[in-house]
Symmetry: C3
Subunit: 210 residues, 3 copies
């Protein structure tokens, strides 16, 4: 079916962009090929895996070798064209944002199909989109970027609420999904374009010891 193929192509693009992001971060820290592959793979499938563990279903990459192969292609790409990747930063930013939007939609759809309420689905959509990047940052021993940077995971939350709103208005599921995905995509693009971020918390005390 054309729709399904279209989603598969977007899923491949998102996985590829996420894997590239992980592999480049790893290469900046002088990881070897294996380490870079693992970090790229974890970035690409980390969010979906945590979602699937929480929902108690088989992680998607155990039933489809696409994610494994796609990360392999991404590694090959960085090895061969590493020098030219900088010039493509805007392209990869677009790919990454497509991945973020699509992963959010996929994560929400999967949760709703399993009978979970919308508030759970929004968490799962956000996890699918953003948790891979957190895993990547734990592996390279950095404070996760998304905890301090401009709107990233928040775009997923926003898209999730749009999905919910559309559903409340009685719209068809596929329309809700398009609105959600486009919402995530545009929010992220606008946030980066206009450097919009969330407020920083006031820090009036020294770090408490728990």
């Amino acid at each position: 079916m054309p729709t399904s193929t279209f989603v598969q192509i977007l899923d491949f693009i998102g996985t590829f962009a996420f894997a590239i992001s992980g592999i480049r971060m790893a290469s900046a820290r002088r990881f070897d090929w294996f380490g870079a592959y693992v970090v790229g793979f974890a970035t690409a499938i980390g969010g979906g895996t945590i979602r699937d563990l929480l929902l108690d279903v088989t992680p998607m990459w155990l039933t489809n070798p696409m994610y494994l192969l796609c990360t392999g292609v991404a590694l090959l790409w960085v090895i061969l064209f590493g020098r030219k990747l900088v010039r493509l930063d805007i392209t990869f930013f677009i790919f990454d944002t497509i991945g973020l939007a699509l992963f959010t939609v996929v994560g929400m759809g999967k949760s709703l199909a399993l009978g979970y309420p919308f508030w759970v689905a929004i968490i799962m959509g956000t996890l699918t989109g953003a948790a891979g990047g957190v895993l990547r940052d734990v592996f390279i021993n950095e404070i996760p970027l998304i905890f301090r940077k401009e709107i990233y995971a928040t775009a997923c939350v926003l898209g999730g609420f749009l999905y919910w709103l559309c559903d409340l208005c009685g719209m068809e599921p596929y329309l809700c999904q398009i609105v959600c995905g486009v919402g995530v995509f545009i929010t992220r693009i606008l946030a980066v374009r206009y450097r919009v971020g969330l407020p920083i918390l006031p820090n009036r005390d020294t770090p408490p010891e728990k």
Copy 2:
């Protein structure tokens, strides 16, 4: 039922105290609101989530939005009253210890109800009480406090053995739970009051490379 309501109130207090602990640590590292919320949430539900994944049951926060809302209240609290929180440090230490004790009891009760033996239940009680703090410290990129500080998780282990002992003596489950919780609470309070800690390991070799 009054007992159940009482436990729910304690659960809310514990969740609130754990979330506050995470949010304050995050704010000390200049996380934005979203990052602080995630770290607070992970601190509050991390232990129970790891326990539920290991026991293969649905994580508790997917069936009850209380944890999500409670973290939201905690975030609001820090945003509004951040300046005054320092004065309440003793209050929060008490709340945190209540959380530790209650989470241990809840974790043990859940494991025993699923038919696991006591030695598994003690691990699960300790995980429920202490693993959230480990997750928080991984997110803020610090060595987990509980691996180096005064008696914390060890109080959970001790409370767990008290539970077991009471059960061996033929005491009623609810009595065992009270003894366990009070045991964790008092152990932790005394350890901090008298600065009791576990011995440090001898370090006579350079870090081995594995």
Copy 3:
């Protein structure tokens, strides 16, 4: 049965070696006894636990207290003989490599028995062998060693392919497992002996921000 007992002894040796590795790393960072125990335990059972969570089966250490006790013996060992451990580095390197080889074989066997294809089994074998060390390094707040060091996890992957090859040739399962384990063992020994490593990725760009 003799075979089963033999595997159990090897499993104990592997668990012991992995736990020692974690406990020594923890002691080099001045963790207390509890922290060292947890890091040792996580190193020993981390890989198998992640595998079992992904395969949706009960983690092996919840059905057998051997792993818990074995880590306790390892902790006692380091407390008592910490001073003399350095002299045994070659012994522990051999033990560690036995653990790596055996854990790979066990992880693959478990996955194949559950009906997963070979490519999944190879990932699970590698996770079983190498993920515990990654967890250890996350706990002690270091970049995971295996992402930058000489052939380690790659030996598991290689052994996994040997297993597959033997199976394709129609060899008996137990023979495939021996070839796999010996393959992992020899690859690792040779890689360390001749300082063979994987290539480092080219780093021609500054770390990208995702």
